[in-house]
């Protein structure tokens, strides 16, 4: 389907294949049910000559249409669980770590700086600019300082609410270089619409160059601005 945004993450392909599988199942069900409905409406319309068939139902049919949907749905549930666990439960340690803090109406992005530790003097804080390298596992620690926001990158197929009082880890591995929008997906006030950051996925060389230009130099102690 051309409608899904271009996928740019590792597990995005899994989510898309799940999406298409469900689309096949529901699509076939949809056609079968609606066509049956239309055929019945045509065949059994009142023509003034017939009497309806007097029946109260069929126990075996009830069993059939209870069991078949149950099996399909249980299979779907187990397929979903495996992918869900991979994406949301078993967060990998990650090659790159950043903090993203939602606040009305910006994403504050915190980089650990050269010492790779958060909460030290060499942290770098920039609003709405998330820079990551391609093909690396990025773990984002999501926080919020006011209301609930939701970190959403459509092309990466990732969405996770940022909840005040909590730190929630979410990970992705981008597979395609480019610049992607990070809209807020949870209503967060009058500036909700238009609250967006930009995710830049660099190749390793560009990423290193970006660090070189923007991160504080390792030796010099600077204060995050």
């Amino acid at each position: 389907m051309p409608w899904l945004p271009l996928n740019a993450s590792t597990y995005g392909a899994d989510i898309d294949s799940m999406f298409f599988l469900i689309t096949w199942i529901t699509g076939i069900t949809f056609v079968l049910v609606q066509v049956t409905l239309l055929v019945f409406l045509f065949l059994y319309r009142d023509r003034g000559t017939r009497r309806a068939y007097y029946t109260h139902g069929s126990a075996s049919l009830e069993v059939v249409w209870t069991v078949i949907p149950s099996i399909i749905l249980v299979v779907l549930a187990f397929l979903s669980k495996a992918k869900w666990d991979e994406i949301k439960v078993d967060t990998p340690p990650g090659d790159i770590r950043v903090e993203v803090i939602g606040k009305q109406f910006n994403w504050e992005v915190v980089y650990p700086g050269p010492d790779r530790e958060f909460g030290t003097g060499d942290d770098l804080t920039i609003d709405n600019q998330l820079h990551v390298p391609v093909d690396k596992v990025v773990v984002v620690s999501l926080k919020s300082i006011d209301v609930i926001h939701s970190f959403f990158v459509p092309q990466l197929r990732i969405k996770q609410d940022a909840v005040p009082g909590r730190t929630i880890s979410v990970w992705f591995e981008a597979t395609r270089e480019g610049v992607y929008e990070i809209p807020c997906a949870e209503l967060c006030g009058f500036g909700h619409s238009g609250m967006k950051g930009l995710l830049t996925v660099h190749n390793q060389t560009d990423y290193d160059a970006w660090i070189e230009q923007n991160w504080p130099a390792p030796a010099v102690e600077t204060t995050a601005s």
Partner: protein, 584 residues
């Protein structure tokens, strides 16, 4: 309740006067009509709000026609600001759910139909019934009043997620949110009174011979819905109370700064909220079953399965709430448990759909306006049900959560489902309710444009959702990745405007028929259920004599009689035991 039965016939002869007949009536039929009027009035308000939001989405930050009279700071010479936009969609959803669909499906049809269909003279507690309506009306007034206070109406979504809803500076809305909370608390009292009444009446006041498994499915659905209301609303009221304390008394139930937790609100809200979804759809399922059986001239297929499916849905509705919270920060392991319960709840819905198809199979279908609307209900409910599977599947939900896919889904269920069932019910019971017949031509002139415009409005929302279009945003053009989808927003808005216009034939038909429609006979549709044995409209006390029930409600085309229907109160042969056999 024996008082009610005893007192009712006295009301027959003498007049109660205008005030006690039309305003402070204790008659379940008048209270039903009052709820209908309230609901229809509010559906107009909710619909106009939806159209304003749609205009903004199609043509962001242009003048919305006909709104220049709305003062600042809501509208700026017809231009809508983002604060007011948030209030508009918040109030659209709140009004439609709590003050349009619930009052009509449950308040109106619950009140009107329960005593008539179970064969009794009135509700168990007529005065409580009166209170239920007037308390509900007060709630509606409070909700509307919130538009006119400083800061405007609530703007934190109909789900009022804390902490956005708990601190006024986060939204800029102060008293509007308080009134929203208070109004829903008051409405909760109204619904509680109603549900106690419905449950008591169905349990205790069924006509002689009206066993549980001879109840029409509409009554089964309303009965189970009433139990859901009884159990779910106190949870909402408690959550609303805590939210109000957070706002006004400095508590921190939902505020992390004081040790509270924002997700607690979501758990409480959705613990109420998911049964609420079924509160909106179960009565619609019951109504569709009755209408489809009547106009198929055929017994409902799998009556007992239908009843058990309603019970299963009602039970399961208590353990699926977490599927609204997959991306909320709730422990993701818990997500899998909620996914499985959510997949399971799809099964009874599937059973019901197949049984509706089974009812049509080899029937003798009559495409009256109520039948067309009931069939549209089935067809649209299938779409709403199937699209729900995408959200149940947790990995797919990551992408479509909080997008227009959800908006499409809820509207296929609540408009495609509940509202088409409401239309079916209005056309079907209008003759009984008002003693006059609605015009069939106008009815079809209402149905077809509505059906087409409905699909043109809500189906493309799936496409927007798949494209990643977030819900509740004020201006989609602020996002580069949504630019290529904007033509759908324009198309949807044109369709929504058409959907609004398509309701004009209903308004004309309703009021014209009310005063000048052909007088209705007792049983214009040749239906079996007990309300059709009463005069149209039924007098105070409903029945000349309380009917005795000999059959189930769906004995159409029974071999026992020459006609193709067999009213529940007609015994075949003098006191014949065969009659009971036919009720199986």
């Amino acid at each position: 309740m024996s008082d009610a039965i005893a007192a009712a016939p006295e009301g027959h002869g003498h007049s109660l006067g205008f005030l006690r007949t039309y305003i402070f009536s204790e008659d379940h039929k008048m209270i039903g009509r009052q709820f209908l009027l309230l609901g229809l009035l509010m559906i107009v308000v909710g619909g106009l709000l939806a159209l304003m939001a749609r205009w903004q989405l199609a043509w962001p930050e242009t003048q919305v026609p006909g709104t220049r009279w709305i003062p600042e700071p809501y509208m700026f010479d017809g231009y809508m600001g983002p604060e007011f936009y948030n209030a508009v969609f918040t109030m659209h959803a709140t009004i439609m759910i709590f003050f349009a669909v619930m009052p009509i499906l449950i308040g109106c049809f619950g009140n009107f139909l329960i005593p008539l269909m179970i064969g009794t003279r009135d509700m168990a507690f007529p005065f409580l019934n009166l209170l239920s309506f007037w308390v509900g009306a007060v709630a509606a007034v409070l909700m509307i009043a919130s538009f006119f206070v400083d800061g405007g109406a609530a703007a934190s979504g109909w789900t009022a997620y804390a902490p956005l809803s708990s601190i006024p500076t986060y939204t800029g809305v102060d008293w509007g949110q308080d009134l929203w909370i208070i109004s829903l608390m008051v409405l909760g009292i109204s619904s509680l009174m109603g549900s106690i009444n419905y449950i008591t009446t169905v349990v205790n006041m069924r006509a002689p011979g009206m066993t549980w498994f001879r109840l029409p499915l509409t009554i089964w659905a309303l009965f189970i819905t009433a139990t859901l209301l009884l159990l779910a609303l106190p949870v909402l009221t408690a959550a609303l109370g805590m939210l109000l304390f957070d706002r006004m008394a400095g508590t921190s139930f939902f505020l992390p700064s004081g040790g509270g937790h924002p997700l607690l609100w979501q758990h409480m809200f959705w613990f109420f909220g998911h049964p609420e979804v079924y509160i909106l759809i179960l009565p619609a399922m019951g109504i569709a079953s009755d209408v489809i059986s009547t106009f198929s001239r055929k017994p409902i297929f799998g009556y007992r399965s239908m009843v058990y499916a309603i019970m299963a849905i009602a039970f399961l509705s208590w353990i699926v709430w977490g599927h609204h919270m997959f991306q909320s920060g709730m422990n993701p392991t818990l997500g899998s448990a909620f996914m499985i319960s959510t997949m399971v709840i799809a099964v009874p819905s599937a059973i019901k759909t197949f049984n509706w198809l089974g009812t049509l199979w080899r029937g003798n279908l009559r495409f009256t306006t109520p039948m067309l609307n009931a069939l549209a209900f089935v067809s649209m409910f299938v779409i709403g049900g199937l699209s729900g599977i995408y959200m149940a599947a947790t990995p797919v939900d990551i992408f479509i959560h909080d997008t227009y896919y959800i908006v499409a889904h809820i509207h296929y269920v609540v408009f495609g489902g509940s509202v088409f069932a409401i239309f079916a019910a209005i056309y079907y019971w209008f003759p009984k309710m008002f003693g006059r017949t609605m015009n069939e031509t106008l009815g079809k002139l209402h149905f077809w444009p509505t059906f087409i415009a409905f699909n043109c409005t809500f189906f493309p929302m799936h496409i927007l959702g798949i494209g990643g279009h977030m819900r509740r945003i004020y201006n989609p053009l602020q996002y580069d990745f949504l630019q290529p989808l904007q033509h759908w927003n324009v198309f949807i808005t044109y369709s929504a405007l058409s959907l609004g216009l398509a309701q004009i034939p209903l308004v004309i038909n309703f009021f014209w028929s009310l005063f000048a429609g052909r007088k209705a006979e007792r049983n214009p549709w040749h239906a079996n259920t007990l309300e059709w044995t009463a005069p149209s409209p039924p007098p105070h006390g409903n029945f000349e004599t309380v009917p005795t029930v000999y059959h189930g409600p769906y004995e159409y085309s029974s071999p026992l009689v020459a006609e193709d229907y067999l009213p529940q109160n007609r015994s075949v042969g003098p006191g014949s035991p065969h009659a009971a056999a036919a009720a199986r």
